[in-house]
Symmetry: C2
Subunit: 384 residues, 2 copies
């Protein structure tokens, strides 16, 4: 196991009726900016619950944070934060709203001229406005990490940053708010959860049996539980279980002391930036290509996943790898995700453009840092 | 899943050579009291590493915290804390030293007359002296929780308390410091880890598949990894893996939103208070008795453990339960733990005394709160 440091101070407040507890979780004298997205929180009752819980507080609102939150939108919120001397940000919505709010929190306290440098140049985030959230979509795990992914449509960029200063002070997870989610978002969230786990697990071999088993624990539970949400969407227990899996999939436990391969996310982000494909669906498309291209490096772990999670009994390594990739694709299909390049309009030209972009940035992806532009083309040619 | 709250702010600093980082983890102006036990840290080099790392700091020492840390001993440390205006406690040792240090931290800031009330009457711990630790024994998980167990030999009591104020600010886990541990302590720590997990997992049925799988993850990894430490005790990877399992077994993840049954620990503590039996060994003795007595309530979970962890294929529930209890006992035996009442001198008189004590306190143990004095006698009569 590699040396590591781990600290995750987020207070998780989980369960039915917990939005009402906002008043005890936010400092009484806070000047709050409540951030949200396109208004689904108004139709599903979450907005009303929040406003009721915050009676007597000083609350301003900032609506319109997009899926794949846009830099230009978020910078408008930063202006409001400065104007109104906001000292608490309350994100109400899914991972995009929360990711966007983390960026607002960091950008408002950023001392340089150009907050985009946080994303593009890794400029350090020394402090941030405190954040709390009501998270409404099980998917990104943003509610229990200090990561965020932000987009700039002008340059077709989608980049990530992370900093302890943007850990939420608290996250309220009420599984009941997910009853009204469109089934497409539920499916995307399950795919996102699955891929978060495997990107911290399917690497070259590691000697970390607990981390392996903990990754498999989420996958085993997810594969068992996912079908139930489609047949019985109003079942609270299923919604609660799936939400907790999404949170646990990206709160940092799984990757302590071990290698990670984020190539699927890295390439998926570029695909979304270029084509607008849903995040979860971009992952379902790219993952099989990454595994096929990296079967030499990752074969042992792919087969272990297949054997322990999908019950594959094939003893031959190569055949076990193929069977695991098939089982993974079948799992995505069972969610209603048909992930092909054609389906998402991923042309050779787009793949070439992404390859050029990555090479021009001088970065390489993967646990062995061996995925460059040429490898991205190889990977995408191995996708269906 | 039940509603829950979770927040664990401990900074884990894990790996080789990490004791040297103490100087960056403790505030420069701290007046430190370094607490430790019987002096093994002097023979294994840990004391020297700590003293070297703390060069230039203001450090006093308090030695002699016992296994099963004693109230009378700890209260002497509280005096020193007050006299010297100590504002940081550094625990260097195993779980007993750290548990004792947590109590010192709470008692020094306690506003009532009698700090024992924290244990006996559940008096609230509103604040505590900040704690950091170098943990040297994989067993109690104390390095990543806010719990402590304290003893009073005069009255043969061994009681627990927990309070967020005593979460360590940081815990340094250097697996190399475990190379010099006596094999008996290694075995006890593995048994303790195993039982911590099952007491958060083997209850009446719950609908929490992720928590189940996460408990099984630790058990699966533990059962695989444990034998290696006996055949290859200088293997760093094995030591690192086992330490991380011990930490993860009691940091609060496993029990969020689900029932817990701490009857084995509750009874085990009483046995240790009465007979002095090692904590880990008391658990190995009591657990089969609890499961045999509660096979109606816990049968499904016991069988699930057997099937998923020990590979038991028996389809009949009763037979699967028996096979799981046998497999668990065999696991303890494989650690060199021969757990019988005779071995530990647990007479009928002692069992009766414990039953009387528990009834006199008016408490009942177990996830269903149905284990009273009479049940304790039944359980102990079902132990080997």
């Amino acid at each position: 196991m590699n040396n590591f440091e781990y600290c995750n101070p987020v207070r998780i407040v989980f369960g039915k009726g917990q939005i009402a507890r906002l008043a005890e979780l936010i400092p009484k004298d806070a000047r709050i900016l409540m951030t949200y997205g396109g208004g689904s929180i108004k139709s599903n009752g979450v907005y009303d619950q929040v406003i009721k819980a915050l009676e007597g507080f000083d609350v301003a609102e900032f609506a319109g944070i997009e899926p794949n939150p846009q830099y230009s939108t978020l910078m408008k919120a930063v202006e409001i934060v400065k104007e109104k001397k906001i000292n608490f940000l309350l994100s109400v919505g899914g991972g995009s709203t929360l990711d966007g709010t983390k960026f607002i929190a960091a950008a408002a306290e950023y001392e340089g001229n150009e907050p985009w440098d946080i994303l593009e140049k890794g400029a350090p985030v020394k402090k941030a406005i405190p954040i709390g959230d009501v998270i409404t979509l099980p998917a990104t795990g943003s509610e229990m990490n200090c990561l965020a992914v932000i987009s700039k449509k002008e340059t077709k960029e989608k980049l990530a940053f992370g900093a302890p200063a943007v850990f939420p002070k608290f996250s309220i997870i009420d599984p009941e708010v997910t009853f009204s989610l469109p089934i497409r978002q539920v499916a995307n969230g399950i795919a996102d959860t699955f891929v978060h786990v495997v990107e911290q697990y399917v690497t070259h071999p590691q000697n970390a049996p607990l981390q392996d088993r903990q990754a498999e624990a989420i996958l085993l539970a997810l594969v068992d539980e996912a079908p139930k949400v489609f047949t019985d969407p109003k079942n609270y227990e299923t919604r609660a279980n799936l939400f907790w899996m999404a949170t646990q999939a990206l709160n940092g436990w799984l990757n302590v002391g071990v290698a990670q391969c984020w190539a699927t996310h890295n390439i998926g982000h570029e695909l979304t930036a270029q084509t607008g494909v849903d995040h979860g669906r971009s992952l379902a498309l790219v993952l099989p290509g990454v595994w096929r291209s990296q079967r030499k490096e990752k074969g042992e772990k792919i087969a272990q996943l297949g054997r322990r999670v999908f019950g594959i009994v094939e003893s031959d390594l190569d055949k076990a790898v193929d069977a695991t990739i098939d089982a993974t694709k079948n799992f995505f299909s069972s969610l209603g995700i048909i992930a092909t390049r054609k389906e998402y309009g991923v042309t050779d030209e787009i793949v070439q453009a992404i390859a050029n972009l990555i090479d021009s940035r001088g970065v390489k992806f993967g646990d062995l840092q061996n995925i460059d532009g040429a490898k991205i083309i190889e990977i995408m040619n191995l996708c269906d």
